[in-house]
Amino acid sequence: MERISKFVERAGWPRILIALFLLSLFVIAPFVGVRLDSSINDTLVRFGMNGVLVLAMVPMVQSGCGLNFGLPLGIISGLIGAVTSVELEVTGIVGVLTAILIATPFALFLGWCYGCLLNRVKGSEMMIATYVGFSSVALMCIMWLVLPYSSPNMVWGYAGKGLRTTISVEAFWQNAVSRIGAFRINEFLAVPTGMFLVFLALCLAMSLFMKTRTGTAMTIVGSNPDYARASGVNINKMRTLSVVLSTWLGAVGIIMYEQSFGFIQLYMGPFYMAFPAVAAILIGGASVKKAGMINVIVGTILFQGILTMTPSVINNMIQTDMSEVIRIIVSNGMILYALTRATKVRS
């Protein structure tokens, strides 16, 4: 009994409720005529798609910059890479690598600027990050219209310029990463091995990095800035590094997302993309100040599981699609829970 209550205390009620909810959805699914294997397939695909975006939260949380609501900045860099790679008409895995390669300098530069900005506004990072994300997405809306891309796969047919809102990458590199080593279990269930491998490799790299000298210094900056200053760690440098890392992971994350999804979404597409990632890592047990690989993996599975299961199961149960509303309530409720709890722990 004591062990149970300890576990409950450590995991927190919201998380347990969400896990139970997801479990019950999986149990109910076969009875309301939803195929379990295709649901698991969808959950796996979505897990792989979103994993890296969620991982992008970790460095900034660890260095005390809070939840990265400015993720759209990284996503924009990724989009520039993806669009350019389609413009160059590179296909397959090389196309994905080209996209990442082109996105990297943009992500590093934008991340560096963003990091310097956040260093000057300590204490209100999250609010400012949200609005920096929003304004950069709005600015890029203008850029997508103006930038001189000309591939007929991407621009509006009648005007001959200005990128379309959604661009298909089917002919170029859809599933290029997922396909590596992928295998089918039956007609409905396949495992996108490649995507998982990339995600796990990045997770492993991140957890190794967190154990290095620099990684430890970064964590100290987050958990006790005064102690960090006293031990001679350059706080601003560590914070900037963490922001650059977050932004770059955001760029890689969106490219992984697109190669599985099959479409590049421009304009207002990235606008709210930070929120699901933030919600996922919080559901996984992270707080505003602490996050690990377990939080990333568990959170992504739980959150994406709910997103996949609610539409199909609830829809078949009561003939109404409430998934959108449930998504809003669960994800924002989770963020709210984390924001209000963090102060309690501190005081």
Binding site: I128, F134, S135, L139, V325, L336, L339, T340
Partner: protein
């Protein structure tokens, strides 16, 4: 000479946002090729439509809780009031009054929740109220999309979705359209002036001025300046903070009702979202900061922000030959201005903090030297 220069610098820094805005407008107005009459008319309409919403933000700023992104909760309460009034088919100013009457207890309840939540997230009120807005938006959708018509009876089929429950995406508020604006018909030449609405706004401004001088208003100011000191001098800080949010939420619900009677159509699932962003952007454009806002800021802000709003799509069109660029520019400006104002504020706060620390450090060093 040095002193003057410092003063100018301080003035520029304090008013950086409105100055940038005036400069951009000065370029954009001639480009848009609008006539002066048209602009004045549009601005008057928008001033009457938006001022009340923006004014509702003042009280939490006084109490040191920053920009109340939770005002969308009030907007939702106002919309619920309007939905019921249009269901019961009550016409004109009485309808508006009844809508406000229904919205009040709802807004008080929402405001109370919002205040309690924000008390648990001291130091990051703004992000929290922002996310709270999203969260309650989910609950609102749940209630309006599935609850109304199914649990709470709605008589008029015009309001409901074809499946028999849930409210339609857009409601025509024909019974209420411009009923407050036209209550006292008034116009100068070609320009139509919604006099009654302006009267309501004026009364409300007087209320704010009066409120600041009451005991509660003074308590809020003390709380806003330093919570610990306020607590020590016997002010019930937590209660005061909750009250400030409740007042703001109730006022926002009235503001949304005034806004929607002018617009005449209710976007059931979107109207409230825009209310928050635009009101906050307007206030910041008017030169307010997260800790300091006056009634003057509100009116200057609404005029400047909406001037940009009217002018930028056309200016964009004539400048680039593409109206869509102007449209995106407008979105960029509303978000960009909020970011700019937040950054400037946080920047200044951090500079103050660093200065305070270096003073402290040198004081300690002096003491050390004396020993």
């Amino acid at each position: 000479m040095m002193d003057n220069w410092k003063k100018i610098k301080l003035f520029l820094l304090r008013n950086a946002v409105p100055i940038v805005f005036i400069l951009v407008s000065a370029v954009a107005i001639p480009l848009s090729q609008f006539s002066v009459d048209y602009l004045v008319q549009e601005l008057l309409v928008r001033l009457s439509r938006n001022s009340f919403l923006v004014l509702s933000l003042l009280v939490p700023i006084l109490a040191g809780m920053g920009l109340n992104f939770g005002m969308v909760l009030g907007a939702m309460a106002g919309q619920l009031g309007l939905i019921f009034v249009s269901d019961w088919n009550i016409v004109g100013v009485y309808g508006l009054f009844l809508a406000a009457l229904i919205a009040t207890p709802l807004a008080i309840f929402f405001g109370w929740i919002c205040g309690e939540v924000l008390n648990k997230a001291r130091g990051r009120e703004m992000v929290t109220s922002y996310i709270l807005g999203f969260f309650v938006n989910g609950v609102y959708q749940l209630a309006v999309l599935y609850g109304l018509g199914a649990v709470v009876p709605i008589r008029s089929a015009k309001l409901l979705l074809s499946r028999g429950y849930g409210i339609r995406n857009t409601l025509n508020l024909d019974n209420l359209r411009k009923c407050l604006d036209d209550y006292i018909p008034f116009s100068i030449g070609e320009i139509w002036i919604p006099l009654a609405t302006f009267a309501v706004i004026a009364v409300f401004c007087l209320f704010i001025i009066w409120f600041r001088r009451t005991k509660l208003g003074q308590d809020m100011r003390a709380t806003g300046q330093d919570m610990a000191v306020a607590e020590a001098s016997g002010i019930r800080v937590m209660r005061t903070r909750v009250l400030s949010i409740i007042i703001s939420t109730v006022l926002a619900s009235y503001g949304q009702i005034i806004f929607l009677q002018n617009v005449g159509t209710l976007n059931t699932y979107n109207s409230h979202e825009q209310a928050g962003v635009f009101a906050i952007a307007s206030l910041l454009v008017g030169g307010a900061s997260v800790t300091r806002a006056s009634i003057l800021n509100v009116f200057v802000g609404v005029i400047l922000f909406h001037l940009m709003f009217i002018v930028s799509p056309m200016a964009g069109k004539y400048l680039t030959g593409d109206a869509q660029i102007g449209e995106f520019f407008r979105v960029f400006v509303s978000y960009g201005i909020i970011s700019l104002a937040l950054v400037l504020h946080a920047w200044r706060r951090q500079a103050d903090r660093d200065a305070a620390r270096s003073v402290q450090r040198s004081a300690v060093a002096d003491k050390g030297a004396e020993k």
